[in-house]
Amino acid sequence: MTGVLNVRNLTAAILVIGLVLLPVYSHLAGDRFVLTLFTRIVIMAMAATSLNLILGYGGMMSFGHAAYLGIGGYAVGMLAHEGIYSGFVQWPVAIAASALFALVIGALSLRTRGVYFIMITLAFAQMAYYLVSGLARYGGDDGLTIYKRSQFIEPLNLSNKIQFYYLCLALLFATIFLIWRLINSRFGMAVQGARSNETRMRAIGFPTYRYRLACFVIAGTLGGLSGVLLANHGDFVSPAMMYWTRSGDLIIMVVLGGMATAFGPLIGAIALLLLEEFLPLIIKVAGTPFFGSSAAARGSEYWMIVMGPLLLLVVLFARGGIDGMLAKLGAKVSAKERS
């Protein structure tokens, strides 16, 4: 089971290859929609991966991670609105802004534990939401259209859909690799020790607060970078991208895919966003024989009524997430091989 060729690694490898080859399929099949959909999935997977650093490895139950998507996105949107399109300005500003926000919020909320931490991160993220909703100059509630994507030096052109997809994919893989290095470093051991038993960490001489805060800031910064990509992808930013249910979606991706695993958040993002995309269709097809086609079609509009209880069932019965199931499957396979 610990060998390189197990079910989990195999799944990850297939995913990586599939994602790399996706534009080829999209080009050959003339299916542009799938490229747009997967660009979004890749970006959300990156945000979920950054959340996994604090939620999965650090044990910090942040319910405000979408705020960084919004801050990164609005940094791009506001600068573009003021006529500054250069990515060399937009991106560093976005990263600095999300790091600063994470530093302030983290410094405050990491003074507390448990439920307080959940509620406080949620409340501060919501504060950021109301803040941008109140900025009439930048569209207020309605959001802000971005007329030109971030400008870099030729040949990099973010308006080219295939180039943009590969840029997002490269940044996702870089994030996964970075976090994997991070959690296996001394810093990562300190953060995981603090998740496991913070009292003991303090007793043996670790000032846990500063390690957790650093971890929180790194995750926020990477979240902000995903926001930069999301704004460029949609050519639009609005307060809705940092509404608290977005933060909930990111948590679901992490848990669904498998917490504290390298590829879990990616798997979770693919699963959740594909489900959101195709659940209405599934309801329609599955419902037609029972309720007739018109009732099933109407029912498919209310797909969240299925989504909610589905989530509840995952929580109650499948806590290891998809990755946990793959690990179990792998254990079964290797047990069979041995016998």
Binding site: L55, M61, F63, L108, S109, R111, T112, G114, V115, Y116, I118, M119, I120, L122, A123, F124, Q126, M127, Y130, L131, V132, S133, G134, L135, A136, R137, W244, T245, G248, I251, I252, V255, Y302, M304, I305, M307, G308, P309, L310, L311, L312, V314, V315, L316, R319
Partner: protein, 305 residues
Amino acid sequence: MTLFFEQCLNGLQFGLLLFLLAAGLTLVFGIMDLVNLAHGSLYMLGAYFAATFSVWTGNFVFGAVLALAATLVVGMAVEVIVMRRLYSRDHLDHVLGTFGLILFFDESVRLIWGPAGLSLPLPPWLSGSVQILSGFQYSAYRLAIIVVTLGVAAFLYILVMRTRIGMLVRAGASNREMVGALGVNIKLLYTLVFGLGAALAGLAGLMQAPILTVQIGMGENILILAFVVTVIGGIGSIRGALVAALLVGVLDTLGRAFFPDILRTMLSPTAASALAPALSSMLIYLLMAIVLVIKPEGLFSAGNK
């Protein structure tokens, strides 16, 4: 001056309403150690039930009483079907599970009542205003809300401090095993406490219904405020919830009413009007941040109820 006084009363009314929500939240957390994001959904349901039942019965008060009973029943049903499976889980599971419930409730409401909001007209005897001081009129309905919530607060105080159930509740907050050892039917106690929390949320929702539009998502916005109240007041403390709710209610109302004017004295008019809406909505979060710096466990932390 009259305007200031009126806004203070509005703040008081809003604060008391927040107290109803925060009290349920903090009771459920203090006793069952359960984080319930779907608390706002019960608030929303209270409002929808009230709007519907008032039309059915043709009477606002009957409608309100029926709505209260209905949220109590829904709350207890949710406890029996879902929540009691979550108590033994960690907070992450609570958050995810109740998040799923929100999706379910929001979508069910859309299915039953449609996507457009409802409005609930007030009966004539509540829609006027009353004179409370010479030359000062105040909305009769808002005054009624203040009276009712003060009554509920007093009822909660007596319930928690003076009765056997309250003793169990207080004991449960500090020592779960002890309550079990006393031979109390914990399952029933939990169902009742959760139902009580749901009814309080429903009451807040049905009382807000005539003031606001009854719509999907109304519960989520106010839930965050209830969280802020709970954090400031200290989790598990009813008294803390009351003090913090009043602080937040008054600060938020007065901030929205007067902060733009204050800002205008410091900044240019254009800058002030551009920033005022954004900044005045931040005031309560600033209050929360200050409390966190000074007392991370809230003003009245549990054990000090």
